[in-house]
Point group: C2
Chain length 214, copies 2
Amino acid sequence: MSKEGIYVSEAVIRRLPKYYRYLDDLEKVGIERVSSKELSRRMGLTASQIRQDFNCFGGFGQQGYGYNVSELKKELIKILGLDKRYNLIVIGAGNMGQALANYVAFEKEGFYIRALFDINPKLIGMTIRDIKIYDLDYLEEYIKMNPTDIAVITTPRQEAQAIADRLVTSGIKGIWNFAAVDIEVPQDVVVENAHISDSLFTLSFKTREDIKLI
Amino acid sequence: MSKEGIYVSEAVIRRLPKYYRYLDDLEKVGIERVSSKELSRRMGLTASQIRQDFNCFGGFGQQGYGYNVSELKKELIKILGLDKRYNLIVIGAGNMGQALANYVAFEKEGFYIRALFDINPKLIGMTIRDIKIYDLDYLEEYIKMNPTDIAVITTPRQEAQAIADRLVTSGIKGIWNFAAVDIEVPQDVVVENAHISDSLFTLSFKTREDIKLI
């Protein structure tokens, strides 16, 4: 990988977690090598597209013999940064915030939720699996004292932009946004949307019998 | 709209919920008309792309005067099918299943979770906001007795394909999949993935300083 940076398209980025999941599945059932043909079938891509994807990262695997599953998985772990630890905080300790805090599987991948924040006095002071719910007023001070990689917004949509502004001012560079609104941030801040109601609307739309996908 | 069906691309479908949210926001703050220029700015599209999107559905609004917010919103409600009621069931009454069942906002849009299913004896028989958690063994019989539009899978990934197979056999045509695995279904069944851990991995990847988006 060059020191100047890795140039990669949004489409490739979206496929990386999927590669990782497949390789993890293969490894779990004891498969050591996967042919580029089988990998393409499972990914729904051509072998040449897969080669191009991997070339963004310097390329790996031997085409003729297929790919070594464990080695390729290790490479993807490195690429995705899943060999590191991330400190997360969650703004909004409602249903979604609590579900995320309870979801231990993220920790296996290195993502640790360290604190929740809310404005509801009934929630402030409570803990979820030892993770404390703080008063939202304490947000800036908390971030100053505790290095935080990613902030998760699970507030009502009307609050989301104001929260994002406070996070950006506090120096947060990664925001995972569950609020059903598109927040605006400076260019050096990454926002990843998990708009789950959009996903539901899309599904109900596609189940309409008169809709034909082109 | 023609009786033969509406031909629409995946990209347009993905934008529909976003249009709907923006118009809803505008309506809430009392804005009656929106220029195509302002709509494009907020959607991050050109005015011509927006016109093309709307043309899939017969086109609406008067270009010169902009769009009437309430009328356009009403059209989008019809297109997205948000003027109808949908019966949902959730397979897996863990953190995510419970969070979804507690999330009342879906009901405002016409999506009603009617039942949850689990294999955990501690959960079976419990209710969440009057929504009962049933034994997974009862799944097929429940669907036979209760018209169900959408089934939500929130089980561990290893169980997801088997559950999907049972849902398909029971005649379910829409599956909302939260399990971190790509399930396979026949062509006449629609699957919408909400792979939230993929979304988190993508975010952490993008926060890497050496990554340049092309």
